[in-house]
């Protein structure tokens, strides 16, 4: 391939990538644009990317009408706790499943994959009754328990891949050098596994942060409701909506995930690559 052809191919790749990025970013950029538009511009036949008369009224109205801060705090508590607890439980399990390849471990891994195919609406009623009996309805702890259980299979599946990517020879070498089991895990395996753990925790966090149905059903009082539930209060019957405040509130709701991604993006990328390479 000549240098010229190579450059053309490279340019084509960049254009394709740019198109893809624009495609991905479009809904979010439109959301931001909508959040800052006054009501008449929302109903304009010729919508513009940049609001002609940008306003903060939608944000003011959103905060005025719904307890967004309290809902965001509830979401944050539920999502952070779910992420943390899920990785605390899944990490040792994944280690065992990855390092000790028995038939049971293989079957368990297979079942984890299959279980993802079940719609959670099947689970909700028994779950509701269990939590009710435990007096955990309308509590964030009840919701966190559900989120952990919900995130666990996939977290486990992800972490097994990451553990397998850490060469067992490294642990054997540490053992030969005299390191005990715990020391090997803490000093050798854990640092290599850290990106995977972070990526998994982030996955669990985002799943819980965005989750709607369990929160809707399990939390009864307005003081306990999470952000996705409160966002639906801007929607009326037959698809009617309070578009401006809804966009403003939805924009605010996406910020924590974006900030978190921005902060730990490198770790995730590293983690994903580590998981992708098989020993």
């Amino acid at each position: 391939m000549s240098m010229r052809t190579r450059r053309s191919v490279r340019a084509g790749q960049y254009v394709a990538l740019l198109c893809y990025l624009v495609f991905l970013a479009f809904p979010f950029l439109w959301l931001i644009s909508t959040a800052f538009k006054p009501a008449p511009e929302l109903g304009s036949l010729h919508p513009t990317w940049i609001p002609q008369h940008p306003t903060l009224d939608n944000f003011r109205q959103a905060f005025d009408e719904q307890p967004l801060l309290r809902a965001a705090a509830n979401s944050l508590i539920a999502a952070l706790s779910a992420g943390l607890i899920a990785v605390l439980i899944a990490t040792p399990m994944a280690y065992v499943m990855a390092r000790h390849r028995t038939r049971l471990a293989t079957a368990a891994t297979g079942w984890v994959v299959v279980s993802q195919a079940f719609p959670f609406v099947l689970l909700i009623i028994p779950l509701f009754l269990v939590l009710k009996n435990l007096h955990l309805i309308n509590t964030l702890w009840g919701l966190i328990m559900v989120y952990v259980v919900w995130a666990l299979p996939f977290a486990l599946w992800m972490l097994v891949g990451y553990v397998r990517a850490v060469p067992a020879e490294l642990e054997e070498a540490a053992a030969v050098d005299g390191a005990g089991r715990l020391r090997t895990l803490v000093s050798v395996t854990a640092p290599l596994l850290a990106p995977g753990i972070v990526a998994t925790a982030l996955f669990a966090f985002i799943t819980a942060w965005n989750e709607f149905f369990f929160a809707l059903v399990l939390l009864k009082t307005p003081e306990k409701q999470t952000l996705p539930v409160v966002l639906t209060h801007f929607l009326g019957a037959e698809g009617a909506s309070d578009l401006g405040p809804l966009a403003a509130a939805a924009f605010l709701a996406t910020l924590p995930s974006l900030v978190l991604f921005a902060v730990i993006q490198r770790r995730i990328t590293g983690g994903m690559l580590a998981g992708a390479v098989k020993n």
Partner: protein, 429 residues
């Protein structure tokens, strides 16, 4: 892992069912009762009024405290179903009458007949009660309703010189077709039908032309049959889109609110929308935009059209049904019903509330809407078992294809009737 969870959940469910028994029931200790009222009000004005009424009730009734719980239209059916199954349903439930059938037949809602005070029963017309009556029982109090109206661009309407219809002298369906042709011009359509959900619009407006579609036999079984009256509304819409080109084809896939930018921009002269959409028009219309509310066209049966009013029900599991109905009675006193109606930009069902002078002003089309109230009937499919499946699997795709011109009237009839009866038969064995 999931298997373990599922097994444990199933076992725990059985155990929980045994342990909880009848369950439910709150308050009652030391003579004080707490009722949970789940409201679906969502516009600020409406939420404020609901909360204010709860506050007024609580101030006047220290022994029966009502707790306001915010629900949402988007997910109310699933949320209620789960709450009913789990024995944690709110005592007082706000919903729409077309969502009540499953809950009523499932035994989740209390039959209100023995509990309703005479004043409330007499204050709401029979037509409205019919919308919440299933198998002889009354499972909700209908309190707000909205007809479908034509929201029109006044400037275009006046410039065209067409006759302006009134509730006393509405357009016939044939005249409406002629008018939309006249209003169609360069880059402008006479009407935009937002038919993302075509079934309820078609059935509800079809009543005006004598359409019925669902026929209940002497054995109580319902069948679909398409008479002459059933073809007027779909035929008019089809011809406007495909023959006259006086209705925008692109609007067929839109929801109501989606048509508003085109309406404000002068692309559509009229949009048939629910009465409450006036609020969005008021909020979003550009400065100086002149609009008016016209009655939907009339047919053989005048201005009749089907509605599914908003309702207030009581959970069968509630240990305080009597108190819950007392609260509903308070909430729906004529003066309060007017406040609720204005907050939601809808019409009250109550005769006395409907007579309130503030609902008969020309401003923002209130008078036109109020004049239509007497013609509102129970939506044709209200209590037909199997209707949701007929609607989703048969009628929605068939009507969408018919309106877009992909199939003809004969094929539409075949699908709605032949395929439709197959679906309904499964529910009526």
């Amino acid at each position: 892992m999931r298997a373990l969870v599922r097994t444990a959940a199933a076992a725990a469910t059985a155990l929980a069912l045994l342990l909880t028994g009848c369950g439910g029931g709150d308050g009652g200790s030391h003579g004080r009762i707490t009722l949970r009222f789940q409201s679906l009000a969502w516009q600020k004005e409406s939420v404020d009024i609901n909360k204010q009424l709860v506050k007024e009730w609580n101030a006047a009734h220290p022994d029966i405290r009502v707790e306001y719980v915010q629900g949402s239209w988007d997910s109310v059916h699933d949320q209620l179903l789960t709450s009913f199954e789990g024995g944690e349903a709110p005592d007082i439930i706000h919903d729409a009458s077309d969502d009540l059938a499953d809950f009523a037949y499932g035994g989740y809602l209390a039959d209100l007949r023995p509990l309703l005070p005479k004043g409330l029963t007499d204050g709401i017309p029979r037509n409205s009660w019919d919308t919440a009556t299933f198998d002889g029982g009354v499972y909700g109090v209908p309190f707000l309703q909205e007809p479908r109206v034509l929201i029109a661009n006044t400037r275009i309407l006046k410039a065209s010189g067409v006759r302006i219809p009134t509730p006393e002298k509405p357009w016939s369906w044939a005249e409406f077709r002629q008018v939309t042709k006249k209003l169609t011009g360069k880059g402008r359509y006479g009407v935009a039908w937002p038919l993302k959900e075509p079934v309820s619009v078609t059935l509800n407006l079809g009543l005006s032309a004598g359409g019925q579609l669902f026929h209940r036999g002497a054995d109580g079984k319902v069948t679909v049959a398409m008479g002459e009256g059933d073809q007027v509304v779909p035929g008019t819409i089809h011809d406007q889109v495909n023959t006259d080109h006086s209705a925008a084809r692109t609007a067929l896939g839109m929801g109501g609110g989606d048509t508003l930018p085109g309406f404000f921009g002068g692309k559509y002269a009229m949009v048939p929308l629910g009465f409450s959409y006036r609020q969005q028009v008021v909020e979003q219309a550009p400065k100086g935009f002149a609009w008016t509310v016209l009655p939907a066209p009339a047919g053989r049966d005048g201005l009749a059209q089907g509605v599914s009013p908003q309702t207030l029900s009581v959970a069968e599991d509630s240990p305080h049904k009597k108190e819950a109905v007392r609260f509903i009675d308070f909430l729906l006193r004529p003066a309060n019903m007017v406040r609720l109606a204005k907050g939601d930009w809808m019409l009250p069902t109550g005769t006395e509330a409907l007579a309130d002078p503030s609902l008969h002003t020309a401003d923002r089309g209130w008078a036109t809407g109020a004049a239509l109230a007497g013609s509102l009937r129970s939506a044709p499919a209200q209590s037909v078992r199997g209707y949701p499946e007929w609607k989703d699997k048969v009628a929605t795709p068939a009507l969408q294809e018919y309106y877009s011109g992909a199939i003809d009237a004969a094929e539409l009839r075949k699908r709605l009737v032949t395929d439709g009866n197959r679906v309904l038969a499964r529910y009526q064995r």
